[in-house]
């Protein structure tokens, strides 16, 4: 609808013989009011989100320049940021988030694509979708506990591996950084591969069958069809799905909090856990806010550079 449409319908509404008395207040509205209407409709949602994002943003910036422990706020200049710059735990948390996030995301993407590729032409695709969906619907905190029990407290995984002869002794998962990361990655892959799978299957089902059929008649092999036709056509969908998944992976908190507590030696501490620990365990709120501000800036940059483009291209 264009602006001229709006005014034209406005004129139509001013017709005196409208049979519906309920719309009278809207019909008599002035032209200025008509122009304001779309803004008025969207305003409550935007205001609500501003309170929940802009206010915390400003608050965090102000707080990050203060020393906030238990008493009143003490001005601290750039001290928190300087400390952050030299804090190996902060850089470590960024690195861990990146390493665990990328491994997990790559695994999930490959698995979900492979499963979607096999499932979408299957007569039982609906059944597969329902089964594969199951892990996603368990509460993440419970999933974290169940993995903690299987790997650590109950030693089930090690026992099973010993039974099939892959191991000859118990594993001390918690004393190894990479084994601890493995647990977190595995739990994430188990629970969230379905998210990508559901989207990829929908993407594959939505594409034009005739192109595929034509290629098949020409004698193209399945991998040629998949890599040269299906994948390129699905690219916008894949990008959107990966972005949404990447956002959630980088904010990984629940599993870290319950399974590893960031250990051993901060080896599995994610950035979310770092902020939580600094702020709510050590009550160093100014410092936690400084880390939040850095993350906020990173988020905004990534949002503008990557996400905006992806969502625009997926729509068109």
């Amino acid at each position: 609808m264009t602006l001229s449409d709006v005014s034209a319908t406005g004129a139509a509404k001013a017709a005196p013989d409208s049979p519906t008395p309920r719309s009278v207040p809207f019909r008599r509205r002035s032209k200025r009011m008509r122009k304001a209407l779309p803004y008025l409709l969207v305003a409550p949602a935007v205001l609500y989100l501003l309170v929940i994002t802009l206010y915390p943003g400003v608050f965090a910036i102000v707080q990050s320049f203060h020393n906030v422990k238990f008493g009143p706020w003490q001005p601290a200049g750039f001290a928190n940021y300087a400390k952050l710059w030299g804090d190996y735990q902060f850089w470590g948390a960024l690195w861990n988030t990146f390493v665990m996030g990328s491994i997990s995301l790559i695994l999930q993407t490959v698995i979900a694509l492979a499963l979607a590729f096999y499932a979408y032409r299957d007569p039982w695709v609906k059944g597969w979708r329902i089964i594969f969906l199951v892990p996603m619907l368990f509460m993440p905190s419970a999933v974290a506990f169940i993995y903690k029990l299987a790997f650590l407290d109950g030693r089930v995984i090690a026992d099973l591996l010993m039974k099939v002869g892959l191991l000859d002794a118990n594993v001390a998962w918690q004393s190894s950084t990479w084994l601890s990361r493995l647990i977190l990655i595995l739990a994430d892959v188990w629970q969230w591969t379905p998210f990508l799978f559901i989207i990829f299957v929908a993407g594959l089902q939505g594409q034009d069958e005739e192109i595929e059929e034509a290629a098949r008649l020409d004698g193209a092999s399945w991998y040629a069809i998949f890599f040269n036709i299906s994948l390129p056509m699905m690219k916008p969908i894949i990008v959107v799905a990966l972005i949404l998944r990447a956002i959630d992976i980088t904010t990984m908190f629940t599993n870290v909090f319950i399974i590893t507590k960031g250990g051993p030696a901060f080896g599995t501490e994610t950035i979310s856990f770092f902020i939580y620990r600094t702020g709510f365990k050590f009550f160093n709120f100014g410092y936690a806010s400084a880390a939040s501000v850095v993350m906020l800036v990173l988020t905004i940059v990534i949002a503008q550079l990557v996400v905006k483009r992806a969502f625009v291209s997926a729509r068109s």
């Binding site: 519906t20 989100l49 994002t53 329902i130 509460m139 188990w190 908190f253």
Partner: protein, 281 residues
């Protein structure tokens, strides 16, 4: 549609079923494990060697109702979640209507701003939100949970509903306009009934995210007064008794069942909902 698709040349059906079957097993195994833990006595959970064929016990069932105010946690969860979805719909439906059916300056930027709030890591805003709710005296109340869940899901809900609204043919609206209906009436009498599946999908997804929410709930609900199921689970640790796994597993399984049924019912719309409308499944 799927059954019409033929086998591609060179594809091995046995391989297809081996791969799909293996993943299905991997998906369902921990679920069986949930049930097996939930229905065994506590003494058979953490043992020198794992017990694969435990004796049956309803210990956990009695424990969750008798030793913990489970009913209260459940009530907190349900109230906070329903309240948050209501807030979301009240804010998102007009916003989505504005973003999908009007042309005006700044529309794309406003739409993208709403979308971008989805990208905020909860941890980034956690400290300020904590102080905000403390100032408002809302810490430890389900009101705070309601407000925060609504904020987390608002971008999702708005974009899903907007995507469904974009699909409504303009003719439908024009016809109503020539009859003299105002915008608000068109929204109420034509658009909303037409996009009901979208509204339901958005609500279901919002509910799932709210049930799962952990970090904010952990910070806001510091006493059992406002615990939800999700955070209550993390506190089934009973001090010196250690983690009470069978109760956790049973609660998780019981919470899973209704969610599963609802999601199966909206299966057709799920891919569209999960991508905020970017994929039309």
């Amino acid at each position: 549609m799927a059954s019409q698709r033929r086998k591609t040349k060179g594809e091995n059906l046995a391989l297809r079923y081996a791969i799909l079957g293996a993943w299905a097993l991997f998906c369902l195994m921990p679920v069986v494990w949930f049930l097996s833990i939930g229905l065994r006595p506590r003494t058979e959970i953490i043992t020198p060697t794992p017990i694969y064929w435990p004796s049956f016990s309803l210990d956990a069932w009695h424990m969750i109702w008798e030793d913990w105010p489970m009913g209260k946690y459940l009530r907190n969860s349900v109230l906070a979640i329903i309240g948050s979805v209501v807030i979301d719909l009240v804010l998102a439906i007009p916003a989505a209507y504005s973003l999908s059916r009007f042309q005006y300056r700044g529309r794309e930027d406003i739409g993208f701003y709403i979308l971008s709030t989805r990208m905020m890591a909860p941890a980034i805003v956690a400290v300020p939100i904590f102080f905000l709710f403390r100032t408002l005296g809302l810490l430890d109340t389900i009101w705070a949970l309601m407000l925060i869940y609504a904020a987390i899901n608002l971008s999702f809900v708005t974009w899903i509903i907007r995507s469904y609204m974009l699909d409504i043919p303009k003719e439908l609206e024009d016809a109503a306009k020539t009859d003299g209906a105002g915008e608000i009436r068109i929204l109420w009498e034509i658009i909303i009934p037409a996009i009901l599946p979208g509204i339901i999908t958005a609500s279901v997804i919002a509910m799932i995210f709210a049930i799962n929410e952990f970090l904010f709930t952990l910070l806001i609900a510091s006493t059992p007064e406002a615990y939800t199921m999700s955070v209550a689970l993390a506190n089934f640790t009973g001090g010196s008794d250690g983690v009470i796994y069978n109760a956790i597993a049973l609660v998780a399984f019981l919470a899973f069942l209704p969610i599963f049924l609802v999601v199966v019912a909206i299966q057709k719309h799920l891919s569209r909902g999960l991508t905020m409308g970017a994929v039309k499944g």
